[in-house]
């Protein structure tokens, strides 16, 4: 009985681990999007101020 | 006025097909060839053949329909006829439905012709042949509608679109091959017919919208 419960817990841990990691990966993707946007905006404003000069 | 236009479009579709018969014959021969491969390649086991028959015929039908559908809008878009239809006041889905109707009739004739050959190759008895034929007749409009939608994206993108829309073809294939030699045949046929009617209506409007969008892009 004890072994059965431990075996089950392996699957529980694996599924929560997979799901947690993919959710973290998605949050990381959101963070990467925010960085990409910031960089794009910075580049745009740098170009703008260059052309205005 | 619109009534006359649709009738003339139907005649024009028939003309296009009969002027270039090879465009229809090649997918048809592919269909037969693909089906013929399996009894030749698989180990000779009658139960195995009967088990795979439904799936093989339906897969082959899908690919053959896709190959035929690739040429749906080719001539018309090249000679500018398609653009005339797109800006005319008659709704474009009637054009799409004309095309599908004529191609569907031609393909039904082809399938009817193939049925004895398939029955001999797979050694099917009358009931099994009947179930296969009935399932193909009921499900082919749905398959034709999906292939028609795929071809509306243009000749360059059609394979990509087939891959993307393949998940939607899967239910048709599942129902179709499930209907083969099944005891609940009328249930499968009813579902296939419902799916066909629904898909023909919805996908003709969707294809018309996609044709219009491709016009905006070019």
């Amino acid at each position: 009985m004890q072994k059965l419960t431990t075996c089950h817990f392996f699957y529980v841990a694996l599924s929560y681990g997979c799901a947690g990691m993919s959710m973290l990966a998605m949050a990381g993707y959101v963070y990467w999007q925010s960085l990409k946007t910031k960089q794009q905006l910075k580049q745009w404003f740098a170009n703008e101020s260059n052309t205005k000069k | 006025m619109a009534h006359g236009l649709v009738y003339r479009q139907l005649l024009r579709e028939k003309q296009i097909i009969f002027r270039q018969k090879h465009a229809i014959l090649q997918p048809f021969l592919f269909f037969l060839m693909f089906i013929a491969f399996f009894p030749l390649i698989l180990p000779f086991n009658l139960q195995l053949l009967h088990a795979v028959c439904g799936g093989v015929v339906w897969m082959s039908l899908t690919i053959a329909l896709f190959l035929a559908a690739e040429r749906f809008y080719l001539e018309d878009s090249q000679c500018g006829y398609l653009e005339q239809w797109l800006i005319y006041k008659v709704p474009v889905y009637s054009y799409v439905l004309c095309k599908w109707l004529v191609h569907g009739v031609v393909q039904v004739v082809g399938v009817l012709f193939c049925m004895p050959i398939i029955a001999v190759m797979y050694q099917l008895n009358f009931l099994e042949t009947y179930s296969l034929l009935a399932s193909i007749l009921c499900g082919m409009p749905a398959l034709l509608a999906m292939c028609g939608l795929v071809s509306a994206f243009g000749p360059n993108r059609s394979i990509l679109m087939l891959l993307i829309l393949f998940p939607l073809i899967i239910p048709i294939l599942m129902l179709g091959s499930g209907a083969f030699a099944s005891s609940a045949l009328s249930a499968y046929l009813a579902l296939l017919l419902a799916l066909s009617i629904g898909m023909v209506f919805i996908l003709s409007i969707a294809s018309a919208a996609i044709l219009k969008i491709s016009l905006e892009n070019t």
Partner: protein
């Protein structure tokens, strides 16, 4: 109605999304951790399945949300087709990404739950197959979005394909009623009393709420950045980033 058109304005939408995501992020984290903590540590094990039932607090919300997000995407697609609002297009693309993630989680956790309980990783049961088809539809929509680029006609095409695929939603929902194969029937319905004991029901509902808030946070953040990336040349963006 005025709110609807106000939301269509990228600037108003961005402001609203910005405020919401700040609050939603923390709320989602707190509620999700509460729900899963309760489910993992304090909820009772099932008398038949043992501890493996704790996967339920992950699998059921993920599956329910995968369907709801598709419904939300279909709604955004409808707005794109009828009103041609670009904000709805960004929302649609963002929800395609989040929905794909959740369907993937639902399938993986379902398969991991199936192994100890029924002894098999996968079976061609109606609900599992139609959920797999849903994942393929999501991935197809993402491939389309990647290939067609970020313009208005691409939005329209994605919206059309989204609606062509919406037929899968009732198939998944009613599949346990129509076909009596492996997957168990529904325990939670809107009108009837739930068939699950309250000590398991509460962590389930809390996890569902937490995961829903997390998805809302993801969708709003992604559409927020997508709008900024599209509208970067406008004046309100310049005023926004005085940094």
């Amino acid at each position: 109605m005025k709110l609807f058109y106000a939301l269509g304005n990228p600037q108003t939408f961005y402001k609203l999304a910005d405020q919401l995501t700040q609050k939603l992020g923390f709320m989602a984290l707190v509620i999700l951790l509460t729900g899963w903590g309760w489910g993992l540590l304090f909820a009772p094990p099932d008398y038949q399945q043992g501890d493996a039932v704790r996967i339920m607090y992950l699998h059921v919300p993920a599956a329910m949300l995968s369907l709801s997000i598709y419904a939300f995407m279909a709604l955004a697609a409808f707005v794109v087709l009828v009103w041609r609002i670009k904000v709805a297009g960004s929302l649609m693309r963002a929800s395609a990404q989040v929905g794909a993630l959740l369907t993937f989680i639902a399938l993986i956790t379902g398969s991991l739950w199936g192994k100890p309980t029924w002894g098999t990783w996968w079976v061609w049961d109606a609900r599992l197959t139609s959920e797999l088809i849903l994942l393929m539809i999501y991935v197809g929509l993402l491939a389309l979005a990647q290939q067609l680029g970020n313009n208005a006609s691409a939005d329209k095409i994605i919206a059309i394909i989204c609606w062509v695929g919406v037929i899968d939603l009732p198939i998944i929902h009613f599949s346990v009623k129509w076909w009596n194969t492996l997957h168990q029937g529904s325990t939670l319905t809107v009108f009837a009393k739930p068939k699950i004991h309250s000590s398991m029901l509460y962590p389930l509902l809390i996890s569902l709420l937490g995961l829903a808030l997390f998805c809302a946070w993801l969708i709003l953040s992604l559409s927020k950045y997508a709008i900024l990336q599209k509208e970067y040349q406008k004046d309100w963006v310049a005023k926004l980033c005085k940094n």
